[in-house]
């Protein structure tokens, strides 16, 4: 049972380290998936919009970690 727990924790740890970072990524992906087809955006900005949001989430998460006390 402990072995299974370890394997599950390791598998989860592959993708999630900072919970709020992972949640923000999922929320952004959900937003893009839901909103982009319903908004009259030029097609050429669709992909870059997804990318820009992900980079903003990365930058925010790094800055939040930098502001955290040691």
């Amino acid at each position: 049972m402990n072995g299974l727990k370890t394997i599950f924790a390791e598998l989860l740890g592959l993708f999630v380290e900072d919970g709020s970072f992972a949640v923000a990524i999922f929320v952004w992906l959900g937003l893009v998936w839901f909103v982009v087809p319903r908004v009259p955006l030029p097609r050429v900005v669709q992909g870059p919009l997804l990318f820009a949001g992900l980079l903003a989430i990365l930058l925010e998460s790094v800055l939040r970690a930098a502001r955290r006390p040691r």
Partner: protein
């Protein structure tokens, strides 16, 4: 095909170096028989997983698998990139293979067990680390291989090349590969995996990419630029905050 081989090689190299450190510690302290049997058994188990999953995945339509794998690759790549940025900016400590080796060595010496013959502690410890790091490699190979038709073989070749390099270096130096610039590798791999993941998620959502497949190059350059800026900004933020804390304390 080229970027797939490079990404699989670099990502697998990082994982194999981490596994090698622990297997070396097991071998030195508990004996090489147990270390090699444990690693060998884990390698066979991993090959069995690939043999089972490979044919199943190849039957699923590409567009279905691309979105699922893209999301996982994105989470995995951005996690690595975030960690590499935090390490490069001094917010968290660098990964130190020599230090990990010393700690593992000390922990293994304290465990009881037979020193002669096959040591159960050695077999279990080597099996566990090879399995854990190996599962990451299997995921990377499958994820990169799922990106397009015929990419599974180049991704596997990249991982195999990394395994051969690490085994050869490990056998030659018999010490942890502490001179491998692991953080730089993680930085590069994080950028590559994030770029691939973003592209495949976009494709899975039916979004348009300017320049189609060529936009992956733009995603790599864009991620690199933002990551480098993030390192500088994080370093400055930490320095400013640290300065303020020191001034308040004095």
């Amino acid at each position: 095909m080229g970027p797939t081989i490079v990404a699989a090689f670099l990502a697998s190299l990082v994982e194999f170096v981490e596994a090698l450190t622990v297997v070396l510690a097991v071998g030195v302290v508990r004996g090489w028989g147990g270390a090699l049997v444990g690693s060998g058994a884990a390698t066979l188990a991993l090959l069995a997983i690939i043999a089972l999953l490979g044919p199943v995945l190849s039957r699923i339509p590409l567009e279905n698998i691309q979105l699922a794998v893209g999301v996982l690759l994105l989470l995995f790549g951005l996690r690595w990139l975030r960690k590499a940025i935090l390490r490069a900016s001094g917010i968290i400590a660098m990964h130190d293979e020599a230090n990990i080796f010393a700690k593992q060595e000390a922990a293994l010496r304290q465990l009881e067990g037979s020193r002669g013959g096959l040591d159960a502690v050695a077999v279990i410890a080597a099996f566990k680390i090879t399995m854990l790091e190996g599962i990451e490699v299997v995921f990377i190979v499958i994820a990169l291989g799922a990106g397009g038709k015929g990419l599974l073989i180049p991704a596997s070749l990249g991982a195999l090349a990394a395994l051969l390099v690490v085994v050869a270096l490990g056998a030659a130096v018999h010490r942890p590969l502490s001179r491998v610039p692991e953080n730089t590798l993680k930085f590069a791999v994080g950028i590559l995996l994030s770029a691939f993941g973003t592209f495949w998620v976009g494709e899975g959502f039916g979004l348009t990419w300017p320049g189609e497949d060529w936009s992956i190059l733009g995603l790599i350059v864009g991620s690199l630029a933002v990551a480098l800026i993030a390192v500088r900004v994080a370093r400055a933020t930490r320095a400013r905050r640290h300065g303020l804390t020191s001034r308040n304390a004095s």
